[in-house]
Amino acid sequence: AQTVTQSQPEMSVQEAETVTLSCTYDTSESNYYLFWYKQPPSRQMILVIRQEAYKQQNATENRFSVNFQKAAKSFSLKISDSQLGDTAMYFCAFMSRNTGNQFYFGTGTSLTVIP
């Protein structure tokens, strides 16, 4: 069974600073995908960034980047130059085609950006 763990229920960061959200996972699969989704107060989840497990290079999307450590089964999200609009719940998710394309989510980290 796949499990995803986010050990930080709440975090805060000053505007313009950098913050890192942690995520670990457990799987016996070798080919899988990892995602970070953002859920603003309006409740619609939006994809932030995606990482394919077979790629060694860490994914980057503008101010968002990941630190993917496959051996350690760790997938952290770094947000640089934090903005007020980054305030949201952040979910880490795992997916493998061998398990039917369903997502396995962590419990989420509530991030507050302080002006």
Binding site: R43, Q44, R97, G100, N101, F103
Partner: protein
């Protein structure tokens, strides 16, 4: 940008009643999903649907649940006889066949009293 939509945004029902939650996936997507999130807990997979049939379902998705694609645009989740523990936010999602990104709707908050 195309979006997944869900109706209603909030549904209140009495225990034992049937409810139907509606979703309109993105038009060129062929995989559809339902997830639920009980307050304070993680988002949990319920079911995936492809080519007019269930392709995967979780242990949560028991005989009280059913899904249907009644026409070319809607995707519904029916709960036949609601229980208090069905109170949750229900999210619909869709994806292209070969894409691994799932697009989520805004959710329907179901309250069973």
């Amino acid at each position: 940008e195309p979006e997944v939509t869900q109706t209603p945004s909030h549904q209140v029902t009495q225990m034992g009643q049937e409810v139907i939650l509606r979703c309109v996936p993105i038009s060129n997507h062929l995989y559809f999903y339902w997830y639920r999130q009980i307050l304070g807990q993680k988002v949990e997979f319920l079911v995936s649907f492809y080519n007019n049939e269930i392709s995967e379902k979780s242990e949560i998705f028991d005989d009280q649940f059913s899904v249907e694609r009644p026409d070319g645009s809607n995707f519904t989740l029916k709960i036949r006889s609601t229980k208090l523990e069905d109170s949750a936010m229900y999210f619909c999602a869709s994806s292209e066949v070969l894409s691994y990104e799932q697009y989520f709707g805004p959710g329907t908050r179901l309250t069973v009293t």
